[in-house]
Amino acid sequence: MKKFKQNAPAIPILVWFGLLVGIPLIFVLVLSFLSRDSLGNIVVEFTLDNYKRIFDPIYLKVFFNSFLLATLTALITLLIGYPVAYFTAKLETKKKALAILLIILPFWISSLLRTYGWIILLGNRGLINNILLNLHIIDKPLGMMYKFGTILTGTAYMLIPFMIIAIYNSVDKLDKSLLEASYDLGAGKWKTFFSITLPLTIPGIAGGFTLVFIPALGLYFISDLLGGGKNIFLGNLINSMVTKGRNRPLAAAFSVGMIVMVLIVLFIYNRITRNNKERLL
């Protein structure tokens, strides 16, 4: 009873999660083991065929592509985001607040609109090509659209704030006296960074990596708009299985496959942060 009272405030959120996350997830899981008829109606008949099709080389390649895109996105946002986060955390309080505001400002604009922005920028009749053509630096448009790199750029751009904020938090709460102790013991700025700052901000890096990797795996409108449908990723695939292929059980099985990939990343993240928490507390 006592325990119940203690946990009572958590009940609304548990109900919320149960209804809106738990039940749909179970529904997807059940669906993934069912079949469909030729019209796309669901037939209650147990099968493992949907999962077997994941191992079709064509689909495996899609899984690999998505994994590659998500990993590269996380790495690129880490490389760009770390210095940004590091120097933001070193700013004085007022400038710091402004910098954080600027970092999260893009979230106030629809992500779809921002993706169209990239087309305006990179398209064959886009801003960059127009300027270069008018300056006679090039004589035909650079083909910057519909490539893997275009999708990577768009995805990284979309998700980099998550990386910056995660790393910023761990740099910001780093005890300044540890850095002073390091200088005091004979280390210069670079040595201090690699021996003290970097290892102590690993939880932030792991957090940022997770926050970028997971959505990068599932974003499908960016690859649709910037990739022109040439590169197929998990998100596009599942989307078209539902809307065009009318094969919801297969889409469910692929979704479960994607969830498993996410769980693996979350598991690694947990391991890293748990080890760190033990030491830092």
């Binding site: 540890l178 004979g186 021996s195 030491r279």
Partner: protein
Amino acid sequence: MKKPLLNLINMNKYFGTSHILKDISLDIMDGEFLTLLGPSGCGKTTILRCIAGLENIDSGDILLNGNSIKDLPPNKRNVNTVFQNYALFPHLNIFDNVAYGPRIKKSMTEDQIKKRVAEVLELVQMTGYEKRMTNQLSGGQRQRIAIARALINEPDILLLDEPLGALDLKLRKYMQTELAGLQKQTKTTFVYVTHDQEEALNMSDRIVVLNKGVIQQVGSPRDIYKNPNNLFVADFIGDRNIKKVKVLEIHDEYSKIKLGNSIINIRNTNNMQRSIQSGEIAILAVHTDKMRITCNNTPNSLSGEIVSVHYAGSQIRTRVNVGGEKITVIEYQNNDCDYEIGDMVHVSWEESGAILLPMEDDFDEIVKSEFHT
């Protein structure tokens, strides 16, 4: 004899518009235990950080072994700091924490490092803790590791920033003895920062008393305690009754002064008294625990009325109204006679317990009424 190891020369430091250190000049001798003592905000920690190189000075110079180090970054100065919160690296174990300095500077081989770490851990009595993580240690143990991590570098000077502040009273007393012993054993120059006068008096060879970024007095603990050379030091060190008095006559051996309505003689003990002229207002400072209350009149005593009596463990704290001036007396044993609130008694003091100081403009500011009325 001893030679100066570090010279601070007319050092000034500003934070924004506030003048934190004002013309600090100080010679620190090789092998001494020097304490910077003062209330919070007096600039003592800033001096330490300037020596360490963690702050730049705005003017003046810092000489270590005769060479200016004021423009060197902290990692190029052969001084090490024990930080107030210890600042042990949480991601490294004790061995790696202690080995950090030599490894960064590549000053020793891995074998030498092993040997030296074992030596310094033995010195601070932490042998066997090499594999522990910092969060598995108590406050006192972290303190020892912080000292070991600094000492392994064989610094010219070890800077300690209120290192005992976070420990409980009992451990603090124990660590005072330990630290003083460690200093004698390693013959390293210690510059120690504290706001705790007892710590300073216990451990130091010399004490520098600071207030508002200005050095007030430099001297041995005994000197500082017995012969404060200004009002601030008299008020800050020890527990004194501080009263405005009128100087009536000045003789070679003693001076005649008037406190309230009472006239009393005070022995001339302090150099500063020579600058006092008869007829002036001066400051009388008497250690509360060098005073006595008697029921019978004794020569050279003040008569007054008991205002309050407090028993605080081993000491008895009595307040006496002497002609309008309230005086606090601390006695450690049974009174010479029984008295109650309202009784008329006589207050006297040991000659060495009282000094006369010249009047200062900021008397009212320094002698806060809540403690001395």
